[in-house]
Symmetry: C2
Subunit: 419 residues, 2 copies
């Protein structure tokens, strides 16, 4: 069996390493952070693991946070417009789970090591690849840092934006009551951005991960530009004020007296430019360097898909390695083919979601979702199969087809609002 | 639902039409031959339907020839070299079936019509596509004639040969005793070509489809160049003489007094150049014209894969049509992505099999198959998943990896010969 060097200990790298370890394929992980550094550092994200990812965790024996205890299965949607529809709901077929990555990643790193894996703390740069290729038959780059992104290069056909389309702030907040049933709430303030309120399990129990996806130049952009660390109390008050105006169905669940970050510094502020990169490169000795997860594609977190993409890509790569036992360019092309529909389809979806102004056909779809329970359920379930939402929103004709398909089923609008 | 025009009533066209018909998608088939003309015409091929194709037939409700009665599950292999290995065997996990297409196609055409489908007898040319696009939302070209091949154009990266690599003759013969158990025999006469002896069900019961894949310039080429119709008895004697010398394990099962074509004219002589073509084109009004089956890829019949490819491609296209209900260019790209690994992988396999002289790494694989039962079983089962054999034979390193993988399992050579 070939020997695989994996750079990065995020979901892509760890899931690949665990899958290969189960199959008896030798691996080594290189990462610039120890598990302890991750655990004591800032939040990593607010990503949800959807059912296919959770199923993969079960298969790998690392589903330590069962979804019946830690999960949710419902999306609530709210449009903050005058005379807009009431909150409308979509259901998953199987539960998802949000967990603080400062818990998740160290636990998986420990498991990999307990099973005999080696994690080497080392900062790797592209200049080191030739040397690593003397130790490994394949190099998998599963970390999103800039030098790796530049190494692989962008696919212009799948990278439409020259700069980030949302200015982000995500904090883990106490004092936000959970919905009943437990759910993710998506609140849209047209022209200003989206708020995702996610039920996350942290070191100190349940919290709300409030992911503010703010339109550059809009009224909410300040939630990214005003740094929380420079005046935490001012930022807390600013957040309350902005939520009250733009995201009222989340605000109304807040107990202002308790509203605070779970721990000081439990917030990320920044922005992400969505990019899909080339799948792989080959070194002069023929060794393949494969891009995986964030190194391969960066998506705006508005639909919370990064970790699910990373895990999916890890499965594709592991399958191809295990099938052939040969990690040549044919292998790399196989990986590229097998993940392209999903990766590109996810990009289509997310890049449509964050287009400014919101395209009329996406507005039409959201309006229809508020009236058609089964359409909203399909859109929700497709968080597990995000390319399907890419197919749905890709063109006005495709939105019309989706609406027509659900109109045929027959809808009870009362049910859509109440169920 | 979109309306689909299908040109061609072979496996690709009929399977697509039946799959769409089951899903309530309107279709119409255009073909230049009636069912009666097919039934009374010359043989079409000697193709085997492997388990995934048979399973698809069952799902479509057209598996009228159950494999427990009409099928086989074993491959015997013989190398006609001095001191070569004894005949060695590979087993399928599930049975395959060979049936005279003059029975198969008319029966499926009748079924499609009984279920409400329309088959229009009409010769279509590319110049007619614009007119057909006014009646249909998508045009699927599922016929391999030259004008369609030229319309789509070749993919040079997947079409390595400028001319056919084998000169073919396939006849349906009486007087060839079946093996016990019933099996396909592959006899290889190095430098001269392959013989496939397939147990086929004809109008008159069991026969042997003897597919002679003759190397141009070799001693067997005459089986293609000497036309059977010009002197049937001379051709019959020539066949016996050549089989005796080059394919003795088939010859020894022949009763010379009974050896004859099942019906006069039950033979095809010709040659096929392997080509993979572009997936689709779009008309000026945006309508997609999708290549399917023979229109998309032509393979040498040495591994008997054409119908299985056609059926697989029909499933891919039907799935994509049914999923989205929109047959735009995004749909066509989805079809292209989903079938590429299999179509290109099949080409890799077949084009390696017919390379002249036989590449050393393929010789090495066949030699190893004669010694390793599990390797020969895998190669055999991969007739159901032909891209996997493409992966196996693509490079010398990949052949070595396959052999090493099976060496680890541990082999009993006695078992390989006897089982």
């Amino acid at each position: 069996m070939p020997d695989i060097g994996i750079i990065g200990a995020g979901t892509a790298g760890l899931h690949l390493a665990l899958l290969l370890q189960q199959a008896g394929v030798p691996t080594r992980i290189y990462t610039n952070q120890t598990a302890e550094q991750i655990a004591s550092g800032p939040p990593q994200n607010s990503v949800s693991h959807h059912a296919p990812t959770v199923a993969r965790e079960s298969a790998m024996g690392v589903n330590f946070w069962p979804v019946d205890e830690y999960g949710y299965q419902v999306h609530y949607h709210h449009l903050n417009v005058p005379d807009g529809p009431p909150v409308f709901r979509g259901d998953f077929l199987r539960p998802s789970r949000v967990l603080d990555y400062r818990i998740y990643l160290p636990r998986l790193m420990a498991e990999y090591e307990e099973r005999g894996g080696t994690i080497e703390q080392r900062s790797v740069e592209p200049a080191d690849f030739e040397q690593l290729a003397r130790r490994h038959d394949l190099i998998v780059v599963a970390a999103g840092k800039r030098s790796f992104a530049e190494y692989f290069g962008e696919r212009p056909d799948a990278s439409p934006y020259a700069k980030p389309q949302r200015h982000l702030a995500v904090g883990f907040w106490d004092g936000v009551a959970q919905t009943e049933p437990r759910a993710v709430t998506m609140s849209i303030s047209p022209g200003h951005g989206e708020l995702l309120d996610l039920p996350i399990t942290t070191f100190d129990g349940w919290a709300s991960a409030l992911l503010c996806e703010n339109v550059p130049g809009g009224d909410l952009e300040v939630l990214m530009t005003q740094k929380e660390s420079s005046d935490p109390e001012a930022y807390r008050r600013l957040t309350l004020e902005k939520l009250k105006e733009h995201h009222p169905t989340v605000f109304e669940r807040i107990d202002e007296s308790r509203f605070a970050l779970m721990r000081p510094g439990d917030i990320l502020q920044g922005a992400v430019r969505p990019v899909v990169r080339e799948d792989y490169r080959t070194l002069t000795d023929g060794t393949v360097v494969l891009a995986l997860g964030d190194a391969h594609a960066t998506v705006d977190p508005v639909t919370g898909q990064g970790a699910n993409s990373a895990s999916f890509e890890a499965q594709v790569a592991a399958d191809a390695i295990i099938e052939d036992g040969v990690v040549d360019e044919r292998f790399a092309q196989k990986v590229a083919l097998r993940r392209r529909e999903r990766v590109d389809g996810l990009s289509t979806w997310v890049n449509t979601m964050i287009e400014t102004p919101t395209p009329p056909h996406l507005q039409k779809l959201i309006g229809a979702m508020s009236q058609m329970r089964t359409l909203c359920d399909e859109f929700t379930e497709n968080f597990s199969y995000p390319h399907r939402n890419g197919d749905m929103v890709a063109t006005p004709a495709r939105v019309d087809a989706a609406i027509a398909r659900h109109a045929e089923i027959g809808q009870d609008p009362t049910d859509a609002k109440a169920h």
